[in-house]
Structure formats: structure tokens, C-alpha cells
Symmetry: C2
Subunit: 426 residues, 2 copies
């Protein structure tokens, strides 16, 4: 394969003509393909259906905290804290169970800080300026939460071993308006990196200028390994923070959204007892309890972390061929052309693609015009502004394998066409 940059304008123009023909054929098929969001496939969801049958007779609804069908138990039943604690690598006593989605838990955590402050500090709504650090590329819904509260978002480059810690330290240790940082430490969304031990330790040893600075540690993919025999591993930030004398500095988030059912799983936060006491004061006004029936259903089905791991092996067996298919097609179609690079993640839900500068928006638009919906270009950056207009998030999980393959092929045609246009215009 000859790199496009080494081709003459004539060669590029002739190639463009051929590709446009192929593109038109795809357009003629009136396809409706979607590689936009990290949704599990129906086959993955089917794996969890037996969970819906574990509670049957009246007595099945009793937990150590009483009848799960009735009011009460604000922070969740003990059995659920133990299960989620195992999954999230923290003791049950550090766990508070939340609702069906960790996104809502994260939103409510920011909202609580905004309206009431953090452990006695000034509520953020009373401050002139609040800033959050955002490792990029990152998760659009994280950015949207903080943006919606008028918080200023600051890009932090994400390297192979995690965020640029020099920059993180510079901001956090000197600027008291910096109140938080969004992290996906394992199989980062979208680029798939896992944070190194050194990065985690540097996080734990931050000396924040703001007392109410917190690390928002979204361990969304903690059991979502594509190769369960060779998982990435990230140091536990909560115990590292304790060791470093910063016990209250982190909120760890987790959920079973992509273990059982998105929007109908269970979620939890792992954090210090001080933080738990602080959040309980507000939770006690917002709710009586979350859905304890669903908590117990998850507990009875999985029993313990081994049950979750076994279940996630089955999920990996469904997901792996999809990730492999995308990589195969991208390698076959784009390898050596030097018009794009992409990640080969060991877990999580995404492949992160980087095009030539200034091409991502056009590629996504071209895909859309051929019936292939991708995550909006720029979505992986705060305010939707990718400074290089180059990052595209590919979500291989949801489509059926044959549809995914076709979508990936169309994507490659679009990458080629847009890249040629850029090179021809240079």
C-alpha cells in the first residue's frame, strides 16, 4: 500500500473516481447502520434474562436488611454493597448503592456539590468560577454534565499511560477553582488506555489547592475485558488515596449497565466514610431508597464476583469478534495509507480513530449520507470542539456482525474520500 501523501494528484483523482462509484453503490442500498453509541447487542442482553427468574416466592424478597419490597434502607442492602464492592475493588462499608444508572449518580454528585457544597465547603453555585479537568478524548456525557452547570472544562491530553500528570498537578495543586477531573481509568472511553500504576499514585498524591477537589473515577469497564485471561489492571485509587493521606479525594463510580441491562442495572459509588456521610444528608431528602428488588435480583443471580466474571466471559465471546472485524477491515482497507490511526483496546466499548487533521466532521457526515450513523465528530471533546477535527469514536458492540462489517467498509471508503479531498486541496 502506498501512502496517499506519496501519490500524485492524478493518481488521487483517479482513485477518487473509483471510490465515488463504490460510495454511490452503498448509498443506493438505503442502509440504516449505526456505530454511534456503546450499546450492548441483543445477544449480550439475552445472557442476563435468567436473572429475571431468581426471585419467586415471597421469602425470596428478604434481604439481611429486611423485605426489599418495602420502603427504607437509604444506601442499599448489605448484600448488594458486598457484590458491588467486590466488583469495584472496595470494602462494602465504602459503598453506597444508587439507582439504575451511574450517569445519574455522577450527575447527582456534581449537582449536590453545586447546590450544597462538599463537606461544608461553599456550594459551587455561589462561586464565580468552577473548573473541571477533562482528559481528551473522553466521554461526551461526562463533559455534558459539568458543562450544563456552567463549569469551565479544560482539556488534558491523554497519553498511553493516562492523563498528562504534569499538567494535572500544575492545575490541581495551584488553582483552587479546579474542583474535579473526569477519569475512565480502565479501557478509557473512547481511546482504550488503562492508567499506569505511576499515574494512579500521582493522582493519589495530589495536593489540591481546593479542599473540595474530587477525582471523578468512572470505572465503567472494570469487568469488561475483551480477553478475560489477560485483563488490564489498574491500581485501586481509593486505597492509594488513603495511603497518601488524601482519603476523601476520590469518588469511584460503577454500574452493571453493561453487565446486565443498560438503564435497568444497579449502580454504586465507592468512597470514604466522610464523603458517604456528606452525601447521605442530601440523599435522605431526595429519596427513601433506590430499587432494592433489583439490587437483590442482581445479588441472587451473580452471588459474587466469580459469578460476574463468568458472565462477562460470555459477553467477551460475543464482543471480541466484533472488535476483531473492525480492526481487520480497517487494517485491510487503510493499512499503509497513512490517512488514519486507530486503537486496539483490550476492553471497554470503543475503538478510537484519528483521521488526518480537519477530516473527522466530513467523514462522519459522509457516513451519515450513506446511512451509517457514527458518534458526532467532536463529541469526544468538551464543548464538542476537537481542536484537530480528527477523532472519531467507533462503537462496534451493537450491530450484528454482517452489518458491522458493512458499516466498517463504508466508513473506510468515507475516510479515503475525505482524505483525498484534503490532499487534493493542499
Amino acid at each position: 500500500m502506498k501512502p496517499y501523501r506519496e501519490m500524485s494528484k492524478e493518481e488521487l483523482s483517479s482513485l477518487k473516481e473509483q471510490l465515488e462509484q463504490i460510495y454511490k453503490e452503498y448509498q443506493g442500498k438505503n442502509l440504516k447502520l449505526n456505530m454511534a453509541r456503546g450499546k450492548p447487542s441483543p445477544e449480550q442482553l439475552d445472557l442476563s434474562l435468567p436473572m429475571m427468574d431468581v426471585l419467586n416466592s415471597k421469602s425470596d424478597y428478604m434481604s439481611v436488611d429486611g423485605d426489599v419490597r418495602n420502603y427504607g434502607v437509604l444506601t442499599g442492602i448489605q448484600e448488594a454493597k458486598e457484590l458491588m464492592g467486590q466488583m469495584m475493588d472496595s470494602p462494602a462499608e465504602n459503598i453506597v448503592m444508587y439507582g439504575t444508572s451511574s450517569l445519574t449518580l455522577m450527575y447527582d454528585t456534581v449537582s449536590r456539590s453545586y447546590t450544597r457544597g462538599v463537606m461544608g465547603s461553599t456550594p459551587w453555585c455561589k462561586l464565580d468560577k468552577v473548573k473541571f479537568l477533562c482528559p481528551v478524548p473522553g466521554y461526551d456525557r461526562h463533559f455534558a454534565i459539568t458543562e450544563s452547570f456552567g463549569i469551565e472544562l479544560i482539556n488534558i491530553p491523554l497519553h498511553d499511560d493516562g492523563p498528562d500528570m504534569d499538567m494535572v498537578e500544575e492545575y490541581v495543586n495551584n488553582d483552587e477553582t479546579v474542583k474535579g477531573i473526569w477519569c475512565v481509568p480502565l479501557y478509557s472511553n473512547p481511546s482504550g488506555q488503562s492508567y499506569s500504576d505511576e499515574v494512579v499514585k500521582r493522582f493519589a498524591n495530589l495536593k489540591p489547592a481546593a479542599k473540595d477537589f474530587r477525582i471523578y473515577w468512572d470505572n465503567a469497564y472494570c469487568v469488561h475485558h475483551l480477553d478475560p485471561d489477560h485483563p488490564d489492571h489498574v491500581l485501586d485509587i481509593l486505597s492509594e488515596c488513603e495511603k497518601a493521606g488524601n482519603p476523601d479525594m476520590v469518588y469511584k463510580f460503577g454500574s452493571t449497565a453493561k453487565v446486565t441491562f443498560p438503564g435497568a442495572g444497579i449502580s454504586a459509588i465507592a468512597t470514604s466514610k466522610n464523603n458517604i456521610e456528606d452525601m447521605k444528608k442530601q440523599m435522605n431528602v431526595q429519596m427513601i431508597s433506590h430499587d432494592k428488588i433489583n439490587q437483590l435480583r442482581h445479588v441472587r443471580y451473580f452471588k459474587n464476583l466469580d459469578g460476574i466474571k463468568e458472565h462477562m466471559r460470555k459477553q467477551a465471546a460475543i464482543l471480541r469478534p466484533r472488535f476483531e472485524a473492525v480492526d481487520e477491515i480497517l487494517t485491510r482497507e487503510l493499512g499503509g495509507l497513512e490517512i488514519g490511526t486507530w486503537t486496539k483496546p483490550h476492553g471497554g466499548y470503543f475503538v478510537s480513530f484519528d483521521s488526518l487533521d480537519g477530516c473527522a466532521k466530513a467523514i462522519v457526515q459522509k457516513c451519515k449520507d450513506a446511512g451509517v450513523v457514527m458518534t458526532g465528530a467532536g463529541a469526544t471533546y468538551p464543548y464538542g470542539k476537537d481542536p484537530h477535527d480528527s477523532n472519531i469514536r467507533i462503537a462496534p458492540s451493537f450491530p450484528a456482525l454482517d452489518e458491522l462489517k458493512m458499516a466498517a467498509e463504508i466508513f473506510c471508503v468515507c475516510v479515503k474520500l475525505v482524505s483525498i479531498d484534503k490532499l487534493l486541496a493542499e
Copy 2:
């Protein structure tokens, strides 16, 4: 029965001695009885167990909005909007489904107004003063929500036909810092009144000084009739507001907490399309969807409003004897003594008791010392301050009938003892 006020001090003292003997006997039993919170009894919860078996095969999880097991459908599935719309007396197009509890929905609605404002108005967190009107006695958790945001709470007397509307109009139509009022229009918590047609119409015809004034209409007991053949009926406030040219002035709240499972039911808001658009902007940041599996489960089980009504008949058959027992015992023990009055509600979850002035706290404490937990005296007023220290909320639903009877008898002994102390001290 001779009224206590007509007894001589000697008669009262001698009576006190007998009652103290009885009280001590109760204390000796080391009882643990609870008439504190409006919790359904286990028998009521058992009625809903068959609902847990309605979703079985994969195809059962399909709604008109797609697979309920996956992400999406922010405002809830169409079938659930139709069911809750029937229950809440509003068209499905005015319904937004929420999570497992309307308490959280109400909290989040206040929180949204506080952090983002209402349809473009100034967020309440940026205002010096925000006030809410609170018909009293009322629901402690309503008051707690607004109090927790630093909102000033103003007592409005609740008459037999609803809140004192002269006072409501005076405040709402003239004071632009008044942003809301908490209402339980049918079988009010705790005093059981239902608002008259005239009251509802006067609500609908308010001319608020504040554009962002909203009526928080918590129709918690809309299908909770103790005598389903003779239910109270309240005019629909949403359509009355439309007729009066105030289409955006009301949020109606409802849930199945006390239809199926507290903390694991489904909840909804019925409001204007403008309000729905306004809340969706924020909801879209806070969540992807609520638990649609639970929505569909409710729909498949009840099918329609008739299904809910039939179910609530069975609940009424369980609840009615409990309310009757309380009324019988209070009538037998306290009738004619002129030391207390109580309500005989047609629905809802509470009996409201009014003691002689200055006695409620002492009565509740005396009950506690004999092993009977009541709702804290004062809880039915903002800031926990009952100006007369006379109102006590009795919740007959949860205890088994024999325990309830004993608790009611102990309560009566406590009322007598505290009343005698008051009269002796006069």
C-alpha cells in the same frame, strides 16, 4: 363520657393513678410497635407479586419503543405513558415517566428550578429569596425538599375543602418570590381532605406575580380509596389550568409506590408540553432513560386503569379494617372526653389526630417510652414546628391488625395521661 375539663382535680388525679398503672403494664411488655410511616403491609405487597412473572421470553421485552432492555427512550415507553396517564387523569402526551419514586421526581424538579430556572427564568440559586407555600398539616418530605434548598416555607391553613385560598391568592398574586405550593389534593397527607371543585378552579385561575410559579400537585393517593364504591373525586388541575389560560402553571406527580412496591414502582409527571420540553433539556444530561423493564412490567400486569382499580380494591379490603380499628378504639377510649379530635378519611394512608394544645410532643414521647413509635410530633409542619404542638399523624397501614389495635390502645392511654397533666397544671 364526661369531658376531662369538667372533672375536678381530685377526679383527674385518681384517674391518672389508674392510667399510670395500665401504662406501666404496657411498658413491661417490651413492645416494639410502629405507627410512624405510611408503609404498605406485607399482605398488600403480596398482591403485586404476580407482576414479577409477566415478562418471560425475549419477545416479552419489546415495547412500541423497542427493546426495553437497552439504552434509550428518555421520557419512557409509550405504553407506560398511557397507563400512568389514565391513572393520573391526563393524556399520554402530557406524561414523562420517571424513576422508582415520585419523591425523587419532586426533588429533581425543585433542584432543576434551583440550578437552571424554569423555562428561561433566573435559576433560584441566583435569587436572594425564594418562598414556597405549605398547606398545613402536610407531608414532611415535601417540606424537607424545599427547606434543604434554603427556600422559605410559609404555613397555609388547610380547611375541609382545601387550602385557605384567600391566603394563597394573596401570596401568589402579589409576591414574586413565591415560586411554588405543595399540594396533596386527594386524601391529603395527613388530614385526609379532598379539594373542592371551587378550590381547584381558584388554583387554576391564580395570577402569579412570578412567571416561574408552579403548583406542585402531588396526587399520591389518586387510586387509593378506602371505599372504592364511593371515592372522593378532585377536578383535574392540568385541564383546569389550560382552560384558565395558565397551561404551564402545574406539575402533577404520581407513582405506583403504594400500588405495587414502594421504592420499586414507577413514577410520572403530567404537565404541559412547554414544561416537558424544559425538563427534557436537563433530563437528557442526567440520564439516558429510567428503568423501562419495570415500566413494561407494570403495563403488562395492569393492562389499563381497570386493572389498577381492581388491584386497589384488594388493597382497600386489607387497609379498611385497619382504619376502622383505629377509629373504633379512638372512639371507644377518647369519645366525649374532649381531649382530642381525629379524621375519618375516605382514602390515603393516614389518620390525623389533634390533641389539646401543647400535648403532641409529650404524647409521642410517652408512646415511644412504651415501645410505640409514632411520626415525630411537629413533622407535619414546616421546620418541624407545629405552632399548637397538637397534630399527630397516625399511620395504620403497616402493623398487623392485632398489633395495630394494641398500639392504638397505648396511644389512647398516652393521650389521656398527657392531657390530665396539662389540665392539672392549669
